[in-house]
C-alpha cells in the first residue's frame, strides 16, 4: 500500500534529515518524528520519516522465530504446481 524503506539517519537540520539506505542517500522530512536522532533507523515514505524503528522489539521477534522448533523443520524442495500458465486470448 505504501512503499517505505528503513533508512539510517546521518544528520538532521531543522526538520530535514539526511538518511541512508545501502549507499543511497536522500532527504527525509522529520515533521512527524520530533524525537528522532542521528543513528536512528527511520521508515521513509514519499520523502518523510514515518516512524523510528525499534531495534529491541525487532531482535526479540527474530529471537522467537529463530528458536522455532527445529525438529518440525524439514527442507522441502519447492515444487511447481501442475497448472501451466493459463491460456490468454
Amino acid at each position: 500500500m505504501c512503499l517505505a524503506v528503513p533508512m539510517k539517519v546521518k544528520s538532521i537540520e531543522n526538520d530535514m534529515a539526511t538518511v541512508d539506505y545501502m549507499g543511497t542517500e536522500t532527504k527525509a522530512c522529520t515533521a512527524f518524528l520530533p524525537e528522532v536522532k542521528v543513528g536512528d533507523y527511520v521508515l521513509v515514505h514519499a520523502g518523510f520519516a514515518m516512524e523510528v524503528l525499534d531495534e529491541e522489539s525487532a531482535l526479540e521477534a527474530l529471537k522467537l522465530w529463530k528458536e522455532l522448533e527445529e525438529l518440525s523443520f524439514e527442507k522441502k524442495e519447492p515444487k511447481l504446481v501442475e497448472e501451466k500458465s493459463i491460456e490468454l486470448a
Binding site: M1, C2, L3, M22, G23, T24, V44, P78, S85
Partner: protein, 336 residues
C-alpha cells in the same frame, strides 16, 4: 485509449516487442527481432557477415562511467559480438538539435575515436542532420555495424537446448541506476557508475575456444536481464530457470531500487553478456570469463528446462518460484 506511441513503446519491454511484431514485421526479412545483429548470406564463403543498427539517446550525455559516444559504439560492438562475430566497420548517423555547442560534438567525436580505437573498428561513413530547436534533445546517435563471423558458428537465440546453462558476465542494473542518478532533478544520491563497456575482448576469445558449445548470447540493455531471458525462452521455446541468489547484484543497486519500488531484473545494463552454453563447458567458460576484468563477477545463474516452455522462472532467495516477466513499459518509481 487511442493507439499512439508512448514512451513505453521505446522502453524495450513488452510494448516494444508488440510494435515489432504487429507493425515492423511486415518489412522485416525473418523474425530477426530477437537477435542483436543479422547474419548476411554471401553464399559460398567460409565467413559470414553480421549487420546491426542501434539508435542511442541518453540524458545526460555525459554520465558517471560513460557518455553517449561510448554507449553507442560499445552497444553496436556488443551486438555484433553477441552473434559471435568480430566487429569491423561502423557508420554513424548524427541527429543534432540546433543550438548544441560544437565543443560538445567535438568531445563526443573524441570519445568515438577512443572507443573505435579501443575496439579496433573503423568508422567508415556517416551522416549528420540538424533538427530545429525543440525537435530533438541535444544529440541522438545512430550506429550501424558490420562484423565477420565463421560460417560454421551458429550462435543465436533459437539455438538454446534443454540443459543449457546461463552465464551472466557481471552485475546487472548498473547502467540504468547510474543514468537515473545522473538526472538533474533526481532526489536520491548514490555512487553507482554505469557498466558501459565493450565486450569483444571478453567474449571473442571464448567463442574462439568453445565454438559451437556456445549456443546463444545477448547483451541485456533496455528492459534489463528479464527481457533478454524472456526473448531467449520464447525464441528457443524452452523454459529458463534462474536462481535469484546467483545473479550478481550490488548492494548499492538494491539501495537505490528498493526505495523506488523497482526490480533490478528490469533495469538496463550496458556492459554485460548473457551466455547460453552446453553445461559441459560451464566451469571452463566461467573461469575464462572471470579471469578478465570485465568478467570477474561472472556467474552461472540458471538452466534451460522443460517446465513451462517460453517462460522464465525465478527461484527466489527464500526458495520460492515465480515467473520473471518482461517489463511492460517505462520503469516508473512507485509509491506503492
Amino acid at each position: 485509449m487511442s493507439d499512439i506511441i508512448t514512451l513505453a513503446h521505446g522502453a524495450g519491454g513488452r510494448l516494444t516487442s508488440e510494435l515489432i511484431e504487429n507493425v515492423f514485421s511486415i518489412y522485416l526479412e525473418k523474425p530477426l527481432k530477437f537477435d542483436d545483429a543479422a547474419v548476411l548470406d554471401f553464399s559460398g564463403k567460409e565467413n559470414e557477415l553480421t549487420f546491426c543498427t542501434d539508435v542511442h539517446l541518453v540524458k545526460p550525455i555525459f554520465f558517471p562511467g560513460g557518455n553517449l559516444s561510448l554507449l553507442a559504439i560499445y552497444g553496436t560492438i556488443n551486438d555484433l559480438v553477441a552473434m559471435g562475430s568480430k566487429p569491423l566497420y561502423l557508420t554513424l548517423g548524427w541527429i543534432i538539435e540546433e543550438g548544441v555547442e560544437i565543443n560538445l560534438i567535438k568531445e563526443l567525436a573524441n570519445e568515438i575515436k577512443k572507443a573505435s580505437d579501443e575496439c579496433n573498428v573503423k568508422v567508415v561513413a556517416g551522416d549528420t542532420k540538424v533538427v530545429p530547436k525543440g525537435q530533438g534533445d541535444g544529440v541522438y546517435l545512430s550506429v550501424s555495424g558490420v562484423g565477420q563471423k565463421k560460417s560454421s558458428l551458429s550462435i543465436n537465440s533459437r539455438n538454446i537446448k534443454e540443459g543449457d546453462i546461463f552465464i551472466i558476465t557481471g552485475t546487472i542494473a548498473d547502467h540504468g541506476c547510474a543514468i537515473m542518478l545522473a538526472r538533474e532533478d533526481f532526489p536520491l544520491k548514490s555512487n553507482i557508475e554505469s557498466d558501459c563497456a565493450c565486450l569483444d575482448k571478453l567474449i571473442l576469445p571464448a567463442v574462439e575456444r568453445f565454438q559451437n558449445e556456445i549456443h546463444a548470447m545477448r547483451d541485456p540493455t533496455r528492459g534489463g536481464l528479464s527481457t533478454v531471458l524472456n526473448e531467449f525462452a520464447s525464441s528457443s521455446n524452452i523454459c529458463i530457470e534462474i536462481d535469484e541468489e546467483k545473479v550478481p547484484i550490488k548492494d548499492e543497486i538494491y539501495g537505490l531500487l528498493d526505495p523506488l519500488g523497482l526490480d533490478p531484473f528490469t533495469i538496463t545494463c550496458e556492459g554485460k553478456m548473457l551466455i547460453a552454453c552446453s553445461p559441459n563447458i560451464g566451469e571452463d567458460l566461467l573461469n575464462m570469463l572471470r579471469s578478465h576484468p570485465l568478467g570477474k563477477d561472472s556467474n552461472i545463474i540458471g538452466t534451460a528446462t522443460k517446465q513451462v516452455p517460453g517462460r522464465v522462472i525465478l527461484n527466489t532467495k527464500i526458495g520460492g518460484k515465480r515467473f520473471l516477466d518482461m517489463p511492460i513499459g517505462e520503469n516508473l518509481p512507485r509509491i506503492c
